[in-house]
């Protein structure tokens, strides 16, 4: 309430629902809290000393006699830091929309709260390397906003194949350093997650769609399907990063500092390529056909270097 009241004082006639959403409380709770606010005020707490709260029939809020709450409470050190850290996380995203506005806001925040809360965020909280933004990020975002169907050329790393698809993009968000598009795949008639940097071309088809409410940020980046194969790998310490980089369903620590993991995979192709990469730092427990696939891939690659099979 110490944050909401100042907003209400500064914005007479605010809509209750809108305020409740912005401040993360249920509308019913806000209404009850406002009723209590009505009972508070300043000494001697006569009728003329109490805060006057009025919620009209259309749900608009009017407050008076609350001058002492017309400005909010200072941010705590942790709150200021938390906002600053979150802002920095977003600024680190290549292609972050409104990045200049966010950078300015963080700068103002730091300047105003500097002395106590954000002593020396400068040089103390940094972004390492900002990569390149995916080429079609702006177009994908605009399509998601305008509910426009897109036709795209997409590279699926799991199969190593290009495909041409029509998608209804609903949410564009970032996770673990990449931009993703949560979309309805029209041809597959199913929900799919696309990496924005693997979209080679994108163009609106001219059609629009009705959003299905697909989830964006916060979702699992791997959605299991019924056709997944369980791949079980024994990873030596040097290949442990695989367990952190890919979604795993099981993870067991091993005495040598390595792990044994189970990865769900729709296709074995990408796992085989990954195993060619890490060599004897990984061992296939199952399925056996994956072992054959790795050898086949190694042989085929050697042919590219002029070796005879």
């Amino acid at each position: 309430m110490l944050a909401i009241v100042p907003y209400l004082v500064q914005h007479p006639g605010s809509a209750l629902d809108e305020v409740a959403t912005a401040f993360g409380v249920a509308p019913g709770q806000l209404r009850r809290d406002l009723d209590l606010l009505f009972m508070s005020g300043l000494p001697p707490y006569g009728p003329g000393d109490l805060i006057d709260v009025d919620v009209d029939e259309d749900g608009h809020i009017w407050i008076s006699m609350a001058d002492h709450f017309s400005r909010p409470l200072q941010l705590t050190r942790i709150e200021a830091l938390a906002v600053y850290l979150r802002g920095t996380e977003l600024l680190a995203l290549p292609g972050m929309p409104d990045a200049p506005a966010l950078a300015k806001a963080l700068e103002k925040l730091q300047r105003s709260l500097g002395a106590d809360a954000l002593r020396e965020a400068e040089g103390r909280i940094e972004i390492a390397r900002r990569g390149r933004a995916p080429e079609h990020l702006d177009l994908l975002r605009a399509a998601a906003r305008g509910h426009e169907r897109l036709s795209i050329d997409y590279f699926a790393a799991s199969t190593g194949e290009w495909s041409h698809r029509e998608i209804d993009p609903e949410e564009v968000f970032s996770g673990m350093g990449h931009w993703y598009v949560a979309a309805w795949d029209v041809d597959a008639d199913a929900e799919r997650l696309f990496r924005a940097d693997r979209v080679r071309s994108a163009a609106p088809t001219g059609e629009t769609f009705v959003p299905r409410g697909l989830r964006g940020a916060g979702r699992d980046l791997y959605s299991p399907t019924g056709e997944d194969v369980s791949v079980r790998l024994r990873l030596r310490p040097a290949a442990r990063w695989i367990a952190e980089y890919y979604a795993t369903t099981e993870l067991e620590e091993r005495d040598d500092g390595g792990v044994e993991v189970t990865l769900p995979a729709r296709q074995l192709g990408w796992v085989a390529r990954l195993l060619v990469r890490v060599g004897d730092d990984a061992e296939v427990v199952e399925p056996a056909e994956l072992r054959h696939e790795v050898r086949r891939l190694a042989r085929e690659t050697l042919v590219g270097y002029g070796h005879k099979t």
């Binding site: 309430m1 110490l2 100042p6 809108e18 912005a22 993360g24 209590l36 508070s40 005020g41 000494p43 707490y45 400005r71 909010p72 409470l73 941010l75 705590t76 709150e79 830091l81 906002v83 850290l85 979150r86 802002g87 920095t88 996380e89 680190a92 995203l93 409104d98 506005a101 966010l102 806001a105 103002k108 925040l109 040089g123 103390r124 909280i125 940094e126 972004i127 390492a128 390397r129 390149r132 790393a157 190593g160 194949e161 970032s174 996770g175 350093g177 964006g216 940020a217 310490p237 442990r240 990063w241 390529r273 890490v278 060599g279 790795v294 050898r295 190694a298 590219g304 270097y305 070796h307």
Partner: protein
């Protein structure tokens, strides 16, 4: 705000804050009891306990409730909330800047501190700002627990010395004793950069690999003047850069993807077999060879010879 019947404490707390903000001089508990009914009604002991609890709740919320001498002789002490410490200083945000901050606070999973902090900044916003908040969160956030991120950030801000249990990417677990200097965000991960006391060297630690909590063990040290935190964060096995240049032939299907994966890659033409010829800067030959191997037959090394030999040797090892 408190337990049990949530209604009553809120009213009491708001009144207490108003009273101590507006009072011209510090008020003793006795004086507060005379003015504020809830403290006056109960018996003195339970009233005092209630007041102590309320004080804790308010302080936790960030209210600067202070106990100071009432007069110059210091015979009596009273409570007051200094206005200059209570109120948020005036910050002039453009509407777009506020929206950006709020979106940031809501992105990246649950972080109560970021959200409540951002809400306090909302009060002076243009009416349109709330309406502009329609979009969902933009990012899934880092893989570290937010309270750990805050604790480490605080330590770097105050240049504290901290200890924690850390698991390396090789899976070894060890206790670390570090002078906290800075935090760096890279590709979805937060890192702590500081002086590792045992190794007597600057090290980077990924926060998601810290097990449990960090312990403050006292005053730390200041980083050297030419210290740049980002220089110490390992680029990871999948990033290539450097002075040496390799020439790689990619199948046309993979070339586009390769160009986006390797920073600094330049397209220098097409060979007789229709493969795309690319020049790519590389630093660590072993790491670079590993990345290329993931392309299988879709990436063939033309030069340097040493890289070519490394790749071939690793492929042959798979067939033994």
């Amino acid at each position: 705000m408190g337990e049990g019947d949530r209604a009553e404490p809120l009213e009491r707390l708001l009144n207490l804050v108003g009273l101590l903000l507006e009072t011209p001089r510090p008020l003793t508990f006795e004086q507060i009891r005379q003015v504020l009914e809830p403290y006056g009604q109960a018996n003195p002991d339970s009233a005092k306990r209630m007041f102590e609890r309320d004080k804790d709740v308010l302080r936790e919320y960030g209210v600067p409730l202070e106990l100071v001498d009432v007069d110059v002789w210091g015979t009596e002490q009273g409570y007051v909330i200094p206005k200059e410490k209570y109120y948020l200083p005036e910050i002039e945000f453009e509407p777009g800047e506020l929206v950006a901050l709020l979106v940031a606070a809501q992105s990246g999973g649950q972080d109560e501190a970021a959200e409540s902090g951002a809400r306090k900044l909302l009060y002076g916003a243009d009416g349109g700002v709330l309406a502009g908040l329609g979009g969902g969160p933009l990012a899934s956030g880092s893989d570290a627990r937010s309270n750990l991120v805050h604790a480490v950030a605080e330590a770097t801000q105050a240049l504290r010395r901290i200890s924690f249990t850390y698991r390396t990417s090789q899976g070894k677990t060890a206790d670390r004793d570090v002078d906290a200097w800075a935090m760096v965000f890279r590709a979805g991960h937060w890192y702590l950069v500081g002086h590792d006391r045992e190794r007597d060297d600057v090290r980077a630690f990924r926060l998601s690999r810290i097990a449990g909590e960090v312990t403050d063990t006292g005053e730390g040290s200041a980083p050297p003047t030419d210290f740049r935190a980002a220089d110490h964060v390992d680029a990871g096995p999948w990033v290539a850069s450097g002075d040496d240049r390799a020439v790689i032939l990619f199948s046309p299907d993979r070339a586009w993807f390769a160009a986006s994966q390797f920073p600094g890659a330049t397209d220098v033409g097409v060979d007789g077999n229709g493969r795309v010829v690319m020049e790519i800067p590389m630093a660590d030959e072993e790491a670079f060879a590993a990345m290329l191997l993931e392309y299988g037959p879709d990436a063939i090394v033309r030069s340097p010879a040493s890289l070519r030999d490394t790749v071939i040797a690793r492929l042959e090892a798979l067939l033994v």
